[in-house]
Symmetry: C2
Subunit: 406 residues, 2 copies
Amino acid sequence: MLIIHKYGGTSLADSTRIKEVAKRIKKESQKGDDLVIVVSAPSGMTNQLLEQASEICTTPSLREVDMMLTTGEQLSASLLSLALQDIGVDAISFNSFQINMKTTNTYGSAKLREIKSDRIFTEIAKKKVVVITGFQGINEHNDFTTLGRGGSDTTAVAIGVCLNADMVEIFTDVDGFHTADPRLVKNAIQVPYLSHSEALEMASLGAKIMHDRSVALAMKYGINLHVRNSYNDNKGTIIGEAKMEEIKLNGVAHSNKNALINIMGQNISSATIGKIFTRIKDLNINISNISKTQDADNYQQISMLLESDENIERFIKYKDEIIQNKDNEINAIEINQDVAKVSVVGFAVRTSGVFAQIWQELTSNNIDILMVSTSDLSISSVVKLADMEKAVQILHKKFFETANSI
Amino acid sequence: MLIIHKYGGTSLADSTRIKEVAKRIKKESQKGDDLVIVVSAPSGMTNQLLEQASEICTTPSLREVDMMLTTGEQLSASLLSLALQDIGVDAISFNSFQINMKTTNTYGSAKLREIKSDRIFTEIAKKKVVVITGFQGINEHNDFTTLGRGGSDTTAVAIGVCLNADMVEIFTDVDGFHTADPRLVKNAIQVPYLSHSEALEMASLGAKIMHDRSVALAMKYGINLHVRNSYNDNKGTIIGEAKMEEIKLNGVAHSNKNALINIMGQNISSATIGKIFTRIKDLNINISNISKTQDADNYQQISMLLESDENIERFIKYKDEIIQNKDNEINAIEINQDVAKVSVVGFAVRTSGVFAQIWQELTSNNIDILMVSTSDLSISSVVKLADMEKAVQILHKKFFETANSI
């Protein structure tokens, strides 16, 4: 079998950790599988480099920042190869140039396009463990690019696709996915299996185990993932094809980097609303939920949920623009950053009654539901940030810890 | 004009120094010249990386060590580009892949073969300052190599050759060449001009201003060098064509990483001596001087001077091999590491009387001359290490500080 391993920065933070990872790889390689390892930069190095760049330059060019940052994974890759060689495992490291890991041109957030696999296969045929730099690539100018958030996971999946690997194992510092964040819910149950779409829904709704981008790539190409803890031998979570007809709930996800925006006014015209949304799109602000209400007097309220600091920051700038525009029929814009999204995830949310139970559980515990959104695979409630932890615990108890659980 | 600058690790050690270098480059670029900058790794980084490698691996593979070390220059190149951009100088960094800086295959001590200059010229044409990683290249497998000692100076000269530059400026932490090391001789005079062969002689006899390898490359291709202090605007030393018929002395060089080897025996056969020298060659031990004496009783002594720790270390191992070999006619082998070589350099050494004066000065000051060697451009005396400083001072005084100086 051909297996891809991916190790994150904390697993490669210092010589001791690197040696531990090497030992694990040796154990796995002794099973007779061919192994390709994808590595992140040592934990802390990226921030340290960015700090030095900011000492040197007030608005660093993204090209040079990527040139600088890509040294991190190259360092990890060479050190891990050395650690493997030291314990008798023949290993060779490659950076993105050496395997022609081509990306789009955008520095800082490039997308992978193509990987040349011949050299990897040549070395695998020599029974070598191949160690590859994650998070990076080269664009059409032969300049280094970085892939942005979730970059190394994405590299691992892409390598898995290109090499037609049997499994991509993502080593992290937790035992895979749980029915809720174990730091919030002490009875959280480890989830042994998720379909790609369930994992994607969990990841995009806040489960920080894997970045949704890499799960989406694995889903697109039907690559099986195995999310495991690099500190132990627990089973972790396998992510693969959906099991036909299996109706269940997978977990409670939460995310706390949100802002709830309310735009209010009397008689806001469709044209004005249209202009606002066009501008929001042009400003690259992503809206995750949206709802609109109006009362008998035609007093309207448009509510939007924004996720991530970048979106919120961009909207805060845009707010002034709307307010200063005298032609608008907008009376007020509220930005509430003290909100969180708590989501129940799984195919079973489509069965009747789940939303009613969520509503009942939260409101009977004095938790206001500020906004609701649903998808085929999840029901998300926006609550006050102060209520988040309690809401996760209540919903986990209801759906995963009682006899009534689905 | 097209000018190459080379900055060493101490000039790029931290953000403050990098900004200083950027300011100097800006000033130079405002004169209207095209500039290409070659950089070393930040001072200290190479040792730090090697230390981590040795924590991880007892006998690190040279390929992976080079993969690791080349991150250093890439970091310097990107940070210097950022510093230049910050003060309004358009700059772009390249590593050895991006300009196809091809070398031989030997990791750790590769030799430059070819540099692809189109992309450099394209960026120069856009009026950008191009910053290039020194010390590194890629071999025929597309693997990173490093050039070993004097690597970044050599890169700078090679880039100068490939781009047909008007001048290669080597920025270091001293004001170029002096008639002696100013740390030993307070009256040492700064030398404004040296021919390539004079500079090569000074460098190979111990003046640590530049590595002799890069001077030899500049001589071969007739490239003018300018050795300058990166901390000030002093004139430094220009190294160029020999000035016809100019007969002078250039300075007193010294080196203290030497060992004097004496091999002694009665009736040593030519075959045995032949075997010893073949073995020395095979063991990659470089001999810098050699002399042989024998007395009326056919008691023979072969004396050799070794330079550099590597040569000495290899010879110490080889000593046991000779001694253990019962067939040898060798009685004893002495290895004396407490010796130094003090050299008077310049075309004028060929004029009669210079050696006589050296002999007179040293012996009348109770300094034993253990061995002498001469070339067209220098006369070197091997003395006790304890006498080195005094010998340099005496010879400098004689030839450069008195009315009798040549």
